[in-house]
Symmetry: D2
């Protein structure tokens, strides 16, 4: 089969690759559309991502929309021909984390298109990819396949909204209007947060937030930022979703959040310690919680989109053919202007 194989920094080659094997419990998927995520981008630019260094060339792609090509004999929950969104994280199903509904913390998780395993686990930027049956989530017939490939990043936002406890009817601020931040703002709005504000230093991102109809779009560097925040939130936002990964944003959240409120850290931060006002955490009785990937939210993600609660299409900037995979990555590198770039197989 044909695949986009990553050989090293900025070295991605569309070439012939060994087809994956169908084992018991598994499903063979014909990959259709694959989105590029920040971590893919990092692999592309540097050849590795965080602590994950591939020991051989491998296939990226974990935001996958696909069609079921074949299923193993023991699989009865997925049918050949179905269009599916793929949950790229295959947790074990049997450890304490999995059994308590926190499969996203499972230490045995195998991640599609990732070098977190050795050898790396090949992803969806190929004609075929194999996943476990429960990783497949059927899409309604009338759902745009580009939208189907948005379920994975949408799942990140959904999980973060759940980590906030309750957002319905609450005053919510999202810091950072990149793809995940915008998705988070759309999600909490769909969950009934009111009002929903979003902040970003970059004008292009704020413009996208305006286009999406977020209730209030803020520039943290503007002179009237504090005043606008206060008008929106009174004594503070009930929830702050930190999606920028910028440590000043996290620090400022301790001031912007209401006593008793919740800060959710979604954006990836560096490994350095960050100075934080822990005394405020106590005096204001703040909850500061991490949000790691997503749990079992794909079915919900599909239902929300199918019912029209969120419209994910405005985030898709461009779709490239597999042959132009490298070009797609180059395009996606402009983080101010590109929100979601997809590759069609």
């Amino acid at each position: 089969m044909k695949a986009a194989v990553l050989y090293g920094p900025r070295d991605i080659r569309v070439e012939s690759f060994e087809e994956p094997e169908l084992r018991p419990g598994m499903v063979l998927l014909r990959s259709r559309l694959v989105g590029i995520c920040g971590s893919d981008q990092h692999y592309y630019e540097h050849g590795y991502c965080a602590a994950f260094v591939p020991d051989r060339p491998f296939v990226l792609g974990h935001e996958v929309m696909a069609e079921v090509a074949a299923v193993a004999d023991d699989v009865d929950t997925v049918r050949v021909g179905q269009r599916v969104a793929v949950n790229p994280a295959r947790s074990c199903g049997f450890c304490e984390d999995c059994k308590t509904g926190r499969g996203n913390l499972c230490r045995k998780t195998i991640m599609l298109g990732s070098a977190s395993t050795t050898p790396p686990t090949n992803g969806g930027l190929a004609e075929f990819v194999v996943v476990r049956a429960d990783q497949c989530h059927a899409l309604p017939d009338d759902m745009d396949e580009r939208v189907g490939a948005m379920m994975e990043p949408f799942a990140v936002a959904l999980h973060a909204a759940k980590r906030a406890g309750t957002v319905s009817g609450r005053r919510v601020l999202v810091t950072g209007a990149g793809t995940i931040g915008l998705l988070a703002a759309m999600t909490v709005r769909a969950y009934g947060a009111a009002p929903v504000a979003i902040s970003d230093l970059v004008a292009e991102r704020r413009a996208k937030a305006e286009e999406l109809g977020i209730d209030a779009v803020l520039d943290p560097a503007a002179a009237d930022f504090a005043e606008r925040s206060r008008k929106l939130s009174g004594e503070g936002f009930d929830v702050v979703l930190e999606a920028s990964g910028a440590s000043p944003a996290l620090r400022s959240a301790f001031d912007l959040v209401r006593p008793g409120g919740t800060i959710v850290q979604i954006g990836t931060l560096g490994t350095e310690d960050i100075p934080l006002p822990a005394n405020k955490l106590m005096n204001k009785e703040i909850n500061l919680v991490g949000s790691m990937r997503y749990g079992n939210v794909f079915e919900e993600a599909i239902r929300l989109v199918a019912a029209g609660r969120v419209d994910l299409r405005p985030l898709i900037n461009a779709v490239f053919p597999l042959e132009a995979a490298g070009k797609a990555f180059e395009f996606a590198a402009d983080k101010a202007r590109s929100f979601k770039v997809q590759i069609q197989i």
Copy 2:
């Protein structure tokens, strides 16, 4: 001052009435718009409501939008001239229920426009009414005052949605498309339930539900009811909000709800015992929870409407002047066609 005074069944007289006195902690309100609720209707038709029998003529009206006419010297949270929605339930603030955030269960609650106290507590169908400062919730300048008078019934629906635990992203069925059922459906949709279905035996109510754009409108007597329910919910609805007060609806909820799901009883049921499949409750591990009035949800109610998450106007059928109070009650008696009738003071 002028007031609509209830003397007995179908005997409501617009006449002169003693003006209420402003005491410490209290606020004098100029009543503007008052909605008629099912319990008001019951007082009007029978002269009493449930166990509450007035010992003298009194003034009904607990769905009140008003303007602040005067405040006691010690009040600093409300200003003269403000337009407010009124929380008619004055809980004590100091008992165990109040202190744990469940003021709706406070045994010392004093209810506006109700004979639950002796003498009865006069309500909003008068030129003036006195409430404690914390019962007043300021309305945004641009909010329609008819909508302001809808906050009380909306609060009932909001509280019920909260009693369901989480509805965001869940499959929800509301049984009963009267005013509260419709408000509940609108609320869970605003909270991100997907899909939201509503059922009612009465065609006019189903028509209103269709008009409001509820995802699916069902007739429980229709031949295809079971099949449509299954299509919408798969193995059952995550949440069923029972708003009809009809015992067959409650009983059927045990079948329609998914294992592990939640049934919320909002509709008032008679005092007779109702035969229920308690073994299903256990085998399906159902949560069956009552929902009683509302807690501290008025600020949230106002925020949700102000942010455009719900539009309450389509439920308002007619506004009558105070002088025509009796006529308003007669109009409201047609429960199939009238959803919310209001009286302007």
Copy 3:
């Protein structure tokens, strides 16, 4: 191997039986001690249990303490020689219920020693039994093996306590002082419920509750029952755990529970509808929740016993050898006097 095989009502034969086969992911256990549960007793007395009618002779026993005899090649979480308590419910691990931490609702669950599958799944009353690796929970070296075989009924009580929401510091009543009721009372006491009361009509059971040191032991037929309840609970118990399976007990719970409180149904009720005061459910804003078996609580059960938070030994009345399996069942039939009868293999 030798096994106690159930042929029909009161017809249990200790005889040679085919040894179970070790497949991938599985563990071969040498059964050591097996407790007799109410459902085992029902199978023994009637040949079936509820809707589960075996199509052939099979081996009962799902309260199993065992030693690991062999493990499949792919198993790395269990070691040969370990002593384990067995979770007899093998949920699939991959459905929506399993992934959300509610494996006890998994529709694909395979239950040890049960005719819920066809053919029946053989249980622990045999020299060997095969389970999936994650069904095994290692016991500390110094734990009495009879106590190890109590983990399954203890898990039922633990799950019920969790279904109550919070019991720590709350006033709790358990109705029914059979084995599960007593375990529930011990569990909520270990969780910090204060005070803990238990009620039963049968004097022998009340005597056992006294022996276990439950704070208050009540006779619901006694003249001072209402007064004692009021003294213990003030305006009502925060939580009532209904473990008797008697419908009058469930009905009375609506009066005994505090407004805003929770009733948990643990005791198995018949399939007939039960008349219940649903209006009280609403007016008192009660939570009525079912409790079905147990989820992932075995590790916790072992930790609680190991730390001395509960002492399960006083509930064990007698231990019979496998050869005397029938006699053990006859002994266990005296429900007033026998709390837990075990069979040693």
Copy 4:
């Protein structure tokens, strides 16, 4: 009346003081026993505490056990002659925080024996003190009055345990074995945490923890600390309660807590920012929550002690007469050896 009046650093004078006035809703208490808290100690040593600088001499004491001497005419929940534990925090009862059950965050709180108001609010180190009726919590007749005066610090520990979410059955580590840390350890053990570990650098405190029977007592400076922690907690503690106020303890909690676990900050930290590994917060999906004083937990505190779930007496080192108030403060200054010093009035 006689009172211990704080004039400045180490200048406390037992002298005549104006008796407080009984107003509506209030209760006049005859103070009996008052515990010395760390903040009292800070006032004594420095003349102020944190940002609270008294503008005149005032009476300390907020850990108060008292007898009701008189009640205002409108008070019906408290009776003259009752022995009570006092909740020193008088929240307003009507703000959004109070109404949602989070009165500990109420911005209008008036604190007994504190300079957080101007003028300072006089406390319990006097013959008489006045509080609002709902601040009084009746003690059982047979409860030791010294124990009654322990309810306030116990309430701090109870609140922290609640902030942890669920501790029942969980592996819990408390860092810091001062009074609050020890109370926290006793509380989570009473709530069924298993095992409960506590750590402290100071040998005397570890000795007290051993005396109290905490499951495991650790020295964070010991060579085997990491190994013992791992043995106790496997992949980490489910909950870490940080009660030392030492920033290294908070930082280490990020390593000691299990993925998905919760860290509760109880110990007062300085106002400087603390470098924290925020990336671990995200990758391990940790909850870091502040715990601020206590909410409505006094009734529960009394029930837990009355039912024998905790024994607070071993923490009381010494009781001094009012005349020796200064001496009591000097004694309490030895933080390694003194856990709770009380003053009898």
